[in-house]
Symmetry: C3
Subunit: 268 residues, 3 copies
């Protein structure tokens, strides 16, 4: 892959492509934030479908989904069955995102994450502790929170991307998105994202929506991160706390304009 440089114009094109093509995103995701994740997908213009049981997940991925999210936040046996039923190597498999929530010391999700890693996810999205743990060089964070800074995961991200031939997105105060040949940093966002549950989960879903329509995993993942973070900045501006922030985030994702992205995007 030749190195990619991302600018605000490209981010806007990806946002508009999601709104126009309304990709159908199948989510096999944790039961804590399922409703919020579905609402965020709708707000960016995608169509969510939470089809995650073993008898239906493979058919839906093969015949209907434009993108798939696999989030390991609550790996109950029935959902693990649904995740394993998908044929990730099939020609019909759409782009997919692995979100290895709290991977590291917890055995069920850690083993499943390694198994999924061998199927080369289009994008892996996590916080710094999760990315380092998945790459095999750390023990994970504190619950779902990272104990490392984004840049401490840069090498792990590039290593993972080289193994999957996809992109790896490290979320944090500055987001870092890497593939084997390029690294993009996005310095947008707001600390309020850490005060609501599902902030990361929803970004994983948005990433699946963007890679479903984008020319490359890196462009899709980085554009998703930029749109999501900029909407968060707008939402935080008129939020009185985490309750109103989550509500306004949905409104901001729905109404985000090209001008918002041009004026706020901080990409390097």
């Amino acid at each position: 892959m030749p190195p990619v440089s991302l600018d605000a114009r490209t981010v806007i094109e990806q946002m508009e492509a999601v709104r126009e093509r309304q990709p159908l995103i199948q989510c096999l995701t944790n039961h804590v934030t399922t409703g919020f994740v579905a609402n965020v997908l709708l707000a960016v213009g995608a169509a969510p479908a939470m089809v995650d049981s073993a008898g239906e997940s493979e058919i839906f991925a093969r015949e209907a989904a434009d993108g798939v999210l696999v989030n390991l936040g609550t790996p109950h046996p029935a959902q693990c069955d649904g995740i394993r039923a998908i044929d990730y190597g099939a020609d019909t498999m759409p782009p997919w995102v692995l979100d290895p929530v709290a991977v590291g010391s917890l055995p069920v999700r850690t083993a499943l994450a390694q198994e999924l890693l061998s199927h080369s996810p289009t994008v892996i999205r996590g916080n710094a502790s999760e990315i380092v743990a998945l790459a095999g060089s750390g023990q994970g964070g504190r619950g779902v929170d990272s104990t490392l800074g984004t840049d401490e995961a840069a090498t792990a991200a590039r290593d993972l991307a080289a193994r999957t031939h996809g992109a790896v997105a490290v979320s944090g105060p500055v987001d870092l998105i890497a593939d084997a040949s390029s690294t993009v940093r996005i310095a947008n966002g707001d600390p309020m994202f850490t005060e609501i549950t599902g902030g990361g989960c929803a970004l994983g879903a948005v990433t699946a929506a963007f890679v479903a329509v984008s020319p490359s995993p890196l462009v899709g993942a980085a554009s998703a991160a930029a749109v999501y973070a900029i909407a968060g900045e707008k939402a935080a501006g008129d939020a009185a706390g985490p309750g109103t922030f989550a509500v306004h985030l949905l409104d901001a994702l729905r109404s985000l304009s090209a001008a918002d992205i041009m004026s706020r995007a901080d990409i390097s």
Copy 2:
């Protein structure tokens, strides 16, 4: 059944009956929108109880529930067991609503929906694609979204109602509610309902609350659809996007007045 014509006055009476009698509604429903569905039931004055495991669902339906909702959005094995444990033909079975989410090509829910159809649900509520697929004449929609207009499901709705001796409600820009002898159309609502998750699921639950207190399935289902759609119109009026819409919908359902219904109801 003699043909029924519904007017705003009847809708108001049903709304007031729900608020006064506070029916206890047992929900066996998908895990995406469970909390939203419970909050909508509370907002209309009903009492939600999400009792859906196999060891408890039959007892609760028999001894406690005034109405039951069965929604097939996420048919995990444990919940399917809970759904199948209920004795739908028992004398003690209260009115119940089947919401056949995304029925059609997905095998687990499609088989279960057909099985439940043989137990004659009091009301079936779905979008046009779901109703047509359940009646055996279509393949279902795109994920949870309909690819047909409401009127394209009118014949399927009447056919299903004739088989179940109940009512069938087709949700869409204009809602169509039919039983074997009557058809009611409700032209209230707002496109914002399609921009949040659970808009249809919650209407299924509201329908269960209304048929628990109404003189007939048709009157209950049509009154539920009218109240819900009119509250949505009010909520959309001061919403800045899907986040605030969902929040205001709960407030509007709670505070909806007889005057709101008299002035807005568009029933034919």
Copy 3:
């Protein structure tokens, strides 16, 4: 235990201790209100972790959690396995809260609640019907709602506390929190709490966060109840209904000040 008297100053100290120490609270809780419970924990300054599957729950309780919530609202087989996998008697077990939702006539949760009771929860939190049913002297409420007043559960609460050597919190218009030697009443709160789903579940989680940092179960449970109820009063003040109330509750919990507690606390 010597009798404890609680004042507003102590409540403030506990609130500040939670914010400073950010206890990591493992929740094995019902699937209706999981996201709301996680958001409430974040709003009080704690860190939620919904680790509830059998292969992970014991490890997390032993190695990571500062407090544990066990809520029996939707006792599916897989979650029951996760709940039973924890070694409640281990030296490494942190303080934990049992929330016996709708215990009484429903057999799965009632049997599991009795089993957990034998492991001496640090705090038991429920409504009056649940506490009386758990103590063996009643049949439970109507669904998740109490059919008894708080004071009708006072004897049952003290009996349970004597058996567990912990505290028992009875939620209602006036909260009653008892251990074997003391009883505290908190007359704060707002009727709006009964119009949203998860109002009780979230208080169970907040209680786990407070007992994780407090000098005694009684002080932790009573301080949690006071902070939560006072935040509810503030939220209700500018709510237009249950939708805005739930949103403002999160904002109010996040921004609650010592002055708010000093001016509003009604503790006896």
